[in-house]
Symmetry: C2
Subunit: 478 residues, 2 copies
Amino acid sequence: MRRLVLPRIASAALIIAALLLTAVGTGSAQPLLDDATLSQAASLRDEARSSELAYEILESLTTEVGPRMAGSSGDERAVAWAQAKFEQLGFDRVTLEPVTFPAWRRGRETARVVAPFPQPLVVTALGGSIATDGELHAPVAHFATLDELAAIPDGSLDGQIVFISNRMKRFRDGAGYGQAVAARSSGAVTAAKKGASAILIRSIGTDQDRLPHTGLMSYALDVRRIPAAALSNPDADLLANMVKRGRPVEVALELGSYWEGDYTSYNVIGDIVGSTQPEEYVLIGGHLDSWDLGTGAIDDGAGCAITMAAGALIGRLDAAPRRTIRVVLYANEEQGLHGARAYRQAHATEMDRHIIGAESDFGAGPIYRFSSRVKPSALGLIDQLTQVLSPLGVVRGDNNASGGPDLIPMRQAGMAVATLHQDGTDYFDYHHTANDTLDKVNPEHLAQNVAAYTVFAFLSAMAPGDFGTRLGLENADD
Amino acid sequence: MRRLVLPRIASAALIIAALLLTAVGTGSAQPLLDDATLSQAASLRDEARSSELAYEILESLTTEVGPRMAGSSGDERAVAWAQAKFEQLGFDRVTLEPVTFPAWRRGRETARVVAPFPQPLVVTALGGSIATDGELHAPVAHFATLDELAAIPDGSLDGQIVFISNRMKRFRDGAGYGQAVAARSSGAVTAAKKGASAILIRSIGTDQDRLPHTGLMSYALDVRRIPAAALSNPDADLLANMVKRGRPVEVALELGSYWEGDYTSYNVIGDIVGSTQPEEYVLIGGHLDSWDLGTGAIDDGAGCAITMAAGALIGRLDAAPRRTIRVVLYANEEQGLHGARAYRQAHATEMDRHIIGAESDFGAGPIYRFSSRVKPSALGLIDQLTQVLSPLGVVRGDNNASGGPDLIPMRQAGMAVATLHQDGTDYFDYHHTANDTLDKVNPEHLAQNVAAYTVFAFLSAMAPGDFGTRLGLENADD
């Protein structure tokens, strides 16, 4: 089939812009899905929408496994659960692929104001943080933002504990996360350069619950490592109110977290094997690991349950779709896309046979938009998919989809992706906290997600052409 | 002045019913408040409604003291704070009255499911619970309600851990609390009779946060004491989901709480001394102690702040009202009205000079109803108060007010009381949890409360007659 030849452009952003511009133009016509297939997809959609299967899967995962931080005993139990569940759901083939990564352990974690107003503070170590050496006592140096901290001279903090109080804003698409998360991911490096002994950040979250948000932080090879923790939003308010009185505020912080060697977990893969092109894959899934504080219902039990249910419902059809529908439950997304990278590596030689992918990793809110990242000539197919999604309240997005975090390595390898955008208005109320529990999931919203993924996966597996397979690559002959 | 003679009726309920019936009839006319006084009250109300004073007081208490469980170091700091704050607010007289009670300490508290699905559970000891002997391992015996537990034969549980899963319902007036709280207050006694080794209850709360609700529990002298704790609502859901699979569920519970001798705290009293009847008191206030998990913003920092601000605003008038306005911050309400009982005892001989009282102890939601418990001939005065409260959105309630928990001893001594009913729709989302923090308080709602208490206290202090002083007492010559 005719493939799009992309110009040599170094910047990925420019490539995407070029794709978008091209998309507006007239790509070569590509065969479309036939009416019988579209009608079958609509039936699947309606069946999925009234199915409780995803909720049952999610209840099973959160109840029978619960927390499953990468490298923990919960991780091991989650892998066993996933393998058994795929089999129980009637997937044709269930595969475990090893993923090795360093294991991080959470230890004891306490914080308190020592002076002038002794009070306990609720904190949690950021993922990857080193421990304090016993209980660290130091005055607090408050900064409203990471930028404010970055602006002071290096070495000027003299052992103080940096406190960054910027608050994440609430948006339906979660845009506030990207705006705020640098304080978490890179704050420790900046604070260490300034001479700090530790860093406390306001949780990257939109709630007002006294439950801190964990999440990955990073060190730099050439910068001293310092312990890093998040305060719950009410605790950050409290500390800010103390600080603004103008008197020195001394805090005691104890973290017991540490890295402990390597651990091997698994990507757990369930396939509904295609009838005529079984070696071509439509890739859906979520990540199996969670943080340790909650039961990982929204992050990302929901994504696992939605895509397992979608695959299972398609698998119950009398005839399998043409291509294989592959549901991947990725290992260790939270600590750096370890499972996703391992998947790409393990399947490097067959990336061209990964036709399109979408990951569900944004909770269980209803899907309201469908965006793609496909070759222009496949946009007609995307329009057809959108039509079948439309009764679910889903509108067409742009052709600049990210596909989800675990699809980054595959997208970088040129795979076409789609994003089924979920309403994340409440997502960051619970994200990475103990409050990430089953009750936060609305069963009807979850079923709407399954319906959308069922349509996406089934029609992609039945599409008469591909969606582009070396998108965005330099010298792509696609 | 003419006093109402009550008939000899043993039951307090019948007395109240009689009062209500009488109230409908024509009580003797009693002098009413004059227009100038009502107008002054309306000005005070409008000033209070736009005042930030209560919020400033509450921010000060929660920031500078925070948790102040009876008998803790926070209790001691709260007393010092309250004394200083009354003085700073210009109260004419500040008095500390000692209150002695046994001190309860919270220790380490952990719980986890051991089998079949190992998971941590979030628990907190109920106030007053004894410790476990190390980590207690036992199977769970689930009961949907306390009544279900009560119905089984004594001695039939053989060391199991009772789990009661009934869920509190949400109402504006908090009526769900009374329906649900017996599982907390008396569940340990019932469970021990059945042979249980411990009891876990679903938190008495309306939220879905992974923050358990503490609160007082009691033992019976002749029944074996067993440890008692509350699971957060999500944890109770989780445990119930495990139990309903029909396999035995084993839990490990460790509580380190204990009683430690006697502690003397203080009722802290601020008076705005009356101009012409300084030895007659209008009694408003809240309780100074809180539970230890949060900063006690809504329970009962709000009540302290509302009534301190109301007193302070009245104290700034050019002329003091006729009677003394007394703001009492009661010690140790949470563990059994210790401060309230001590107040009644200390002032037993002058109870007749306590003209009327109201306690604010239901958070910071807006006041929507004003109910009274006064002699029928004073209902005209209550109508006048209601008229001035009306622009705040307050409607007239019945004449069967409780007055608030700390006024129970005074009401039992015959004091007239009023209740300024607050909207408590959200109150039990945060009540007795770590989530009871300043951010849960809406400053405008708080100011509306101050406005209402200002009207109530000022007009009661200016009323030309009393409200009845030996209400409900047998042989009352009132």
